[in-house]
């Protein structure tokens, strides 16, 4: 161990410079990420400066200790970080970071901390008081460190490992150092610092101490606070998260190498109240001293520490992060220890990193933070008129400030509203940041709003509301403060998950193995260099126990209570259960199915149930579990079975009348007298193609006569194929579970698998999977395959990629094309053009229909600019139409991407803005079809009039019809009944039938023209109709053929003395004649006409006289 430690220290030294560099860049990198802790550092003030200076490598030793501590921490850390040398650097960074965090967190306890920090600074000079107590505290740290040296006793090793765990736990609280933790255990920290100081004084620095330096101090503190064990444990859990998080961040930090100094300096200025000036040098000195002291101490103190610590490791093992560790759970320490035995070195490493973060926290308690947080209320933005809103400028100094590193989930349950322009942040950034910490950003202020973040030119109404509700109003710095100072806390989901898990554990001994396996995982990951050591343990835990299953199957609900989103009394699962249990009763009673809308819909009397809903939300699971619950055994047929008519008849039909063998042969046949069974038809909408020909019809007929319940499942119950089936089924529609519901379940899975997934990250994942539980599990499984923890950013990134496959409706697409804001801000060109491809025939229509309704941001309320944007958009759309024509007429489908740009992307870019209205359906479709109808009418009319007029249908429309309209109606309007003959004469002249008459009036009607026909009294109208029908009108065309499909084709032929509405008459006649005539329509009309004509003196040709008869007669 010693050698190793030395080695690592040597490495550390080597890399001192590098590490220094790396340390500095941390903040910058953080900045990049948006988690930047600039402000934190700044507030730290002196402490911060100290730490930074340390980082620079004033103390090589100190650094070495950091790095070493880091490596140790690694082993504990779930993350697998790069190999040794690199790791060290990383760890060093981590440690520094942690320090920073702690400092930040400590805002509330500033004073205490300050004291402690000061004490530290004064380490060399510090008094010996409290030594006794503190020594005890410190022991924990020392325990770990000495262990490597001792090596001798296996028991020691065990103890060490135990200690290690404990230390982790101790450190964890500090790391997470949610405000609460500090609050709760402020005293121990102080104690620690004091103790450290004492030690330093008492003992001269040793080389070894360098390695173990600062980290040890924190641990000891916790241990001292035995009474507060529970609290500590809670904290520990937090710390785990934090630690991992920080680790992840560290990785990033290393990459970026910005000088920290620049950032720190302004921060310092911000944080006025800092204890002492030149902290850096002091800190460095301290670090050395601490490390030395701790090392020395450890040896002595080991026994003491061991006793209290032993229970802790157990707890950890059992529950990776138990919210409230109950003392009951203390198990035999040996078991816990055992996994670690193989690699004691690792355990050491693990300790060290934890320790390191602890120390910095002490060193730099930021007082500035507290000062800032309190005066949160921003100078109220000047009254802003709407005009100024329109003209207000963007953020002035984007990126000037960085978001601090906050405690995990520190904003959970808080609601924010952002108004006005924040000078240094994008709104999106703010939102992302708040969401990262579990907060919520809403659009308007309400009672539930906790904070209003107001910037320049913020909305007056929001401010007023906020004042009305007593909402805290923050400015940018206030927000930063809140993030920085709020204590991290455990997400309620994590807590739930753990609780449920612990319950399970208490019931089943299996948990232990799991915990062991998890521990093994830990180790393996942490010590990437030596995975072999941990592997045997792992095998014990997992491989031997259970076969490798997909998580979806592994964590499949085993009881109705575990179903996601099916808990309510009115849930589908309950309904189905009720239906199923009562099925036989209802069957026996002969209950008839009730209509959906009468009474309660419990499906009584229906022979089958149809579960429908999107995939991945547990339909099949629900069905099987309900069957189980109701004591039914079931036969399942799904799409993998052939379900044609024939096979259904053969196989299923019999089954529906069968009894199961279970009744006679099963193990529990005695109690299963009259065992019930049912049929599960899964994926019925997959019954398609030749294989399953006739399957659905057969299924329906089987359902009608079934003796057992049938449960069908499908995705889209409105599909054409489901129409018939759904008529015979108890309709149960499954909705997607809410995010919270899924989240809770996922957290418990994550917990069981030992995953670190921050709840906000889970949010992203769930949303990306579109609430598809199965998808979520698969995604998590995949994304955590390499690395057991996911950061918020990773999750967001990954889920963005997964989200691409989501299908959007045309309305959503259209909105997305135009709407600005965070939703679309980060879309690439490809993403935007992909929107077009959701439906390339509909998309452009929607865009064209709606682009005018958008208020583009670019216009900024300038009407002229707005219009020119509209013009450019319209031109682009017109370009798109040209491309569309080329595509359709020349089959040039390769041009589709071009059209995407013209028809969707460019309009979207130009008009990007707010979309106040609903997306309207493209009117072009309707307009186009009515244009088509007009064309047809014109064509028909023109065909009828053709013998008399010249000109095509366009000139007919534009020239003739306006005058025809007048000529046809004027006599009626002017002279009423007397005008009738004149009109009819004109109609005959032009071979117009009554139908054309109506058409002409309709088509020549304009919104700005009056409708002469409305002026007519009904008397005149009826006189006109009657007169018209009395006479036989010879046309040069055969109306029967031409107007076969169209309404009122028989008008001219209709009986003589019919009433006003000839269409009605025609219809009634038709129905009369239907009975007699079995011939075709045309024939009917001819037969009708004959009597009519004969009655009317049969002037000229009868019957078919409609054909060419007239013209030929006329002409000849």
């Amino acid at each position: 161990m010693d050698i190793r430690s030395f080695f690592s220290s040597a490495n550390a030294k080597k890399t001192n410079n590098a590490s220094n560099k790396t340390v500095r860049p941390e903040p910058s990198k953080l900045n990049v990420k948006g988690k930047s802790t600039n402000e934190k550092t700044g507030r730290r003030g002196n402490d911060g400066s100290k730490s930074t200076e340390k980082g620079r490598g004033s103390d090589k030793k100190g650094k070495g200790s950091y790095s070493r501590g880091k490596t140790q921490s690694k082993s504990k850390a779930k993350r697998v970080i790069a190999l040794d040398s690199d790791d060290e650097d990383v760890n060093g960074n981590v440690a520094v970071k942690k320090d920073e965090k702690q400092l930040d967190e400590g805002t509330k306890k500033k004073r205490k901390r300050q004291v402690s920090s000061e004490e530290r600074n004064e380490d060399t000079v510090s008094s010996h008081r409290k030594v006794g107590k503190k020594a005890h505290l410190i022991e924990s740290d020392s325990d770990e460190e000495p262990i490597p040296r001792k090596k001798a006793g296996s028991g020691n090793d065990k103890k060490k490992t135990g200690i290690v765990f404990k230390e982790d736990s101790d450190e964890e609280p500090t790391k997470k150092s949610s405000m609460g933790s500090f609050l709760k255990t402020p005293s121990p920290q102080k104690v620690k610092s004091k103790t450290e100081i004492k030690k330093t004084e008492t003992k001269t620095p040793v080389n070894v101490s360098d390695f173990f330096g600062s980290s040890s101090v924190q641990r000891s503190d916790r241990k001292t606070a035995v009474s507060k064990r529970k609290l500590d444990e809670d904290e520990e859990i937090h710390e785990d998260d934090d630690f991992e998080k920080t680790l992840a961040q560290l990785d990033d930090v290393q990459k970026s190498k910005k000088p920290r100094l620049s950032e720190t300096s302004p921060q310092k200025s911000a944080s006025t109240p800092s204890p002492s000036g030149n902290l850096a040098s002091k800190l460095a000195a301290k670090a050395k001293q601490f490390s030395m002291e701790t090392s020395t101490r450890k040896v002595k103190e080991e026994p003491k520490t061991l006793v209290p610590e032993t229970p802790e490791p157990k707890q950890i093992l059992k529950k990776a992060s138990p919210v409230k560790l109950s003392p009951k759970k203390v198990l035999s320490p040996q078991k816990d220890v055992s996994p670690k035995k193989p690699s004691p070195v690792k355990s050491e490493k693990a300790h060290a990193p934890k320790v390191s973060p602890g120390k910095p926290s002490k060193t730099s308690p930021p007082k500035s933070a507290s000062t800032k947080t309190s005066p949160d209320v921003p100078e109220l933005a000047s009254r802003t008129s709407y005009r100024s809103y329109l003209t207000r400028e963007g953020p002035q100094s984007l990126g000037a400030k960085e978001f601090p590193e906050g405690g995990e989930n520190c904003l959970e349950g808080l609601t924010f509203v952002v108004t006005g322009v924040l000078e240094s942040f994008d709104r999106d950034d703010v939102k992302r940041e708040v969401e990262r910490y579990g907060g919520k950003v809403t659009g308007s202020v309400s009672k539930k709003t906790n904070y209003l973040v107001a910037g320049r030119d913020s909305g007056e109404s929001k401010l007023q509301k906020a004042r009305g509700f007593g909402t805290t109003i923050l400015d940018e710095d206030g927000l930063i403060e809140v993030i920085r100072t709020k204590p991290g806390k455990k997400s309620k989901y994590v807590i739930q998950a753990e609780e449920s898990f612990s319950k399970e554990k208490s019931k089943t001994p299996v948990q232990k193995t799991k915990s062991v396996s998890r521990l093994a995982d830990f180790e393996r990951r942490a010590s990437s260099s030596t995975p072999s050591s941990s592997s045997p343990v792992k095998k014990e835990g997992k491989v031997s126990d259970e076969p490798v299953l997909m998580w979806v199957d592994k964590y499949k609900p085993t009881g109705l209570k575990q179903l996601i989103g099916q808990q309510g009394d009115k849930s589908n699962a309950k309904k189905l259960l009720h239906w199923l249990t009562n099925w036989h009763k209802n069957e026996a009673a002969g209950v008839k199915p009730q209509g959906k809308f009468f009474g309660k819909d419990d499906g009584a009397g229906t022979k089958a149930a149809l579960l429908s809903g999107p995939p991945g939300i547990g339909k099949t699971t629900t069905a099987t579990l309900v069957c189980k619950e109701a004591g039914f055994s079931f036969v399942e047929l799904n799409a993998s079975d052939t379900r044609s008519k024939k096979s259904l008849q053969h196989e299923v039909a019999q089954a529906l009348g069968n009894e199961t063998l279970v009744d006679y042969m099963g193990p529990d046949r005695s109690k299963s007298r009259g065992h019930k069974h049912c049929l599960l038809m899964d994926e019925v909408d997959g019954m398609a193609g030749n294989e399953d020909r006739g399957g659905l019809q057969e299924l329906v007929s089987l359902i009608k006569g079934t003796k057992i319940p049938v449960i069908c499942m499908c995705n889209d119950r409105n599909h054409q194929k489901m129409r018939t089936l759904s008529n015979y089924c108890f309709d149960l529609r499954f909705q997607r579970p809410r995010v919270e519901q899924i989240k809770a379940a996922m957290m418990s899975i994550a917990f069981k698998e030992g995953l670190k997934i921050p709840p906000p990250a889970l949010n992203e994942i769930i949303l990306a999977a579109n609430h598809d539980v199965r998808q979520v599990i698969h995604n998590i499984s995949m994304w955590t395959a390499g690395n057991k923890s996911i950061t918020y950013d990773q999750a967001k990134d990954d889920s963005k990629r997964a989200r691409k496959d989501m299908k959007l409706g045309p309305f959503d697409v259209c909105r997305k094309v135009f709407v600005g804001g965070d939703e679309t801000a980060n879309m690439s060109l490809i993403d935007k053009s992909d929107l077009f491809f959701h439906d390339y025939s509909f998309g452009p229509l929607f865009v064209q229909e709606n682009y005018i309704n958008v208020f583009p941001y670019a216009a900024r309320g300038n009407a002229s600019k707005h219009l020119s944007l509209l013009a450019r958009t319209a031109q682009s759309i017109s370009d798109g139409d040209l491309v569309d024509k080329a595509i359709r007429s020349r089959m040039a489908w390769s041009l589709l991407p071009t059209q995407a740009i013209y028809s969707s992307v460019i309009p979207g870019e130009l008009m990007r803005g707010s979309f106040p209205q609903m997306v309207s359906f493209p009117s072009w479709l309707g307009q186009n079809s009515s244009r088509g109808k007009s064309e047809r009418i014109l064509q028909e009319t023109r065909t009828h009039m053709r013998l008399k007029i010249s000109g095509d249908k366009r000139s007919l429309n534009m020239d003739y019809l306006p005058y025809m309209r007048h000529s046809l109606t004027r006599p009626l309007v002017a002279r009423e009944s007397e005008g009738v003959p004149e009109v009819i004469h004109l109609m005959e002249e032009y071979d117009i039938i009554k139908e054309d008459f109506d058409n002409i009036l309709e088509i020549s009607k304009w919104p700005n023209s009056d409708d002469p026909f409305k002026q007519l009294s009904t008397k005149t109208k009826s006189a006109f109709t009657r007169t018209y029908n009395k006479e036989v009108h010879m046309t040069p065309y055969s109306t029967g053929v031409l107007t076969k499909k169209k309404r009122g084709g028989g008008v001219s032929v209709a009986g003589p003395e019919e009433g006003d509405e000839e269409e009605e008459d025609a219809a009634s006649e038709d129905s009369d004649n239907d009975k007699d005539d079995l011939q075709k329509d045309t024939m009917i009309k001819q037969t009708k006409k004959k009597p009519a004509a004969s009655k009317e003196k049969a002037k000229e040709t009868t019957g078919k006289g409609k054909g060419k008869g007239k013209t030929s007669k006329k002409r000849s």
């Binding site: 064209q848 005018i852 309704n853 002229s864 707005h866 219009l867 020119s868 509209l870 013009a871 319209a874 031109q875 759309i877 017109s878 139409d881 040209l882 569309d884 024509k885 359709r888 009117s923 072009w924 307009q927 009515s930 244009r931 007009s934 014109l938 064509q939 065909t943 053709r946 013998l947 010249s950 000109g951 095509d952 249908k953 366009r954 000139s955 429309n957 534009m958 020239d959 003739y960 306006p962 005058y963 025809m964 000529s967 004027r970 004149e982 004109l986 002249e989 088509i1003 304009w1006 919104p1007 700005n1008 023209s1009 040069p1036 065309y1037 055969s1038 053929v1041 060419k1108 013209t1111 030929s1112 002409r1115």
Partner: protein
């Protein structure tokens, strides 16, 4: 009692009221006993069809006026059934292939073949060929036009084609070169005025010259429209007064109102209103180019100098797109939006200059 425009339609080449020289040429052409394929083109309402009918009458005698409407059924290669109505006499058949839209090629191939493959039985007393009149040739698809060109040569012995269209620009050169072009230009305003007066005289009315000129101007040199307007005036108020208001068709009024709306206000909201009105026009089957022209004519009245130039240019730009594109509304709307943007800008600049 048909409308004047039909009642007083001349039925022989001698009676044509204008382009008399051309009528004489045609007469000579016919009298020579044979003539090539013809393509008759000119704006609508100038009497192309009247002239063709006169020609046929000159060729075959009055038998050509015994018209009948026939239905023809065709089946496309893709088994789609369609029917088309034709007007025919014993000597000719008139068809508008574009009635069946994209399948016009089948109509051309089948119909002309059936007509052309039957020879006249008695060649001594009759012409040895029949005439096929194809109207709206400029709306034929390119496929159909290609189908036409070989047919034109192959069946030269038994049939002559007379193509009728508004403009030859959309007729492929191969066809144009196979035909003798007959351009029927629009009558001048004076000519229309004279015709109106002579028609009124036949009706026993007296039409003041001023009113006749007014109507002629309003009619856009479209004789058919002029006659219809004239009759409308007669109905409106008989003793004609020179200063009488000439009623325009509703759609023209509507179009002008639309243009006024555009000039009146330039805003997205107005653009939406205009779009609705454009849709109204389009659903009433007013051709898009007519809409475009009508809009431009009205809009330009409100522009001056450079602005006019710019507006006309953009109108031309979008009019061209109308022809090459598919959805008329896109281009009309783009033009309107463009005009609004230009006009607004110009207006604001003008105001800015004032200060």
């Amino acid at each position: 009692m048909s409308l004047w425009v039909d009642k007083h339609r001349p039925n022989s080449l001698n009676k044509l009221d204008f382009h008399k020289e051309q009528a004489a040429h045609l007469k000579k052409l016919v009298n020579s006993g044979d003539f090539p394929h013809l393509i008759v083109y000119g704006p609508s309402g100038v009497g192309k069809k009247t002239r063709i009918m006169c020609l046929l009458r000159e060729l075959y005698g009055s038998g050509v006026e015994k018209l009948r409407i026939e239905q023809h059924n065709f089946t496309t290669p893709s088994k789609k059934k369609m029917d088309i109505s034709t007007i025919s006499s014993n000597y000719h058949i008139e068809v508008n292939p574009s009635d069946v839209g994209n399948n016009d090629r089948v109509v051309i191939q089948e119909l002309i073949k059936t007509v052309a493959q039957t020879n006249q039985l008695e060649t001594s007393s009759q012409k040895s060929f029949k005439v096929v009149i194809l109207t709206e040739v400029d709306r034929l698809s390119v496929d159909a036009q290609h189908a036409l060109r070989r047919t034109m040569e192959k069946y030269m012995a038994t049939c002559r084609l007379i193509l009728c269209c508004n403009s030859t620009s959309k007729v492929i050169p191969a066809i144009r070169s196979r035909c003798l072009g007959v351009r029927v230009a629009a009558p001048s305003i004076e000519q229309i005025g004279q015709i109106l007066q002579s028609v009124c005289k036949k009706e026993g009315l007296s039409l003041p010259l001023e009113l006749a000129t007014k109507i002629a101007k309003k009619s856009n040199r479209n004789l058919r429209r002029a006659l219809l307007m004239c009759e409308a005036c007669r109905v409106q108020q008989y003793p004609f007064r020179p200063d009488q208001e000439v009623t325009e068709p509703d759609w023209e009024l509507y179009l002008k109102e639309t243009a006024n709306l555009i000039v009146e206000q330039q805003s997205p909201k107005r653009l939406l209103e205009v779009r609705a009105r454009l849709y109204e026009l389009i659903t009433h089957c007013i051709p898009a180019d007519v809409i475009m022209r009508g809009l431009l004519q009205e809009l330009v009245k409100n522009c001056d100098g450079e602005l006019k130039l710019e507006v006309v240019q953009s109108a031309a730009y979008y009019e061209h797109r109308l022809q090459t594109g598919q959805k008329a509304i896109y281009h009309l709307e783009a033009f309107v939006a463009k005009f609004m943007a230009i006009y607004k800008r110009f207006f604001e600049e003008g105001i800015a200059d004032l200060f």
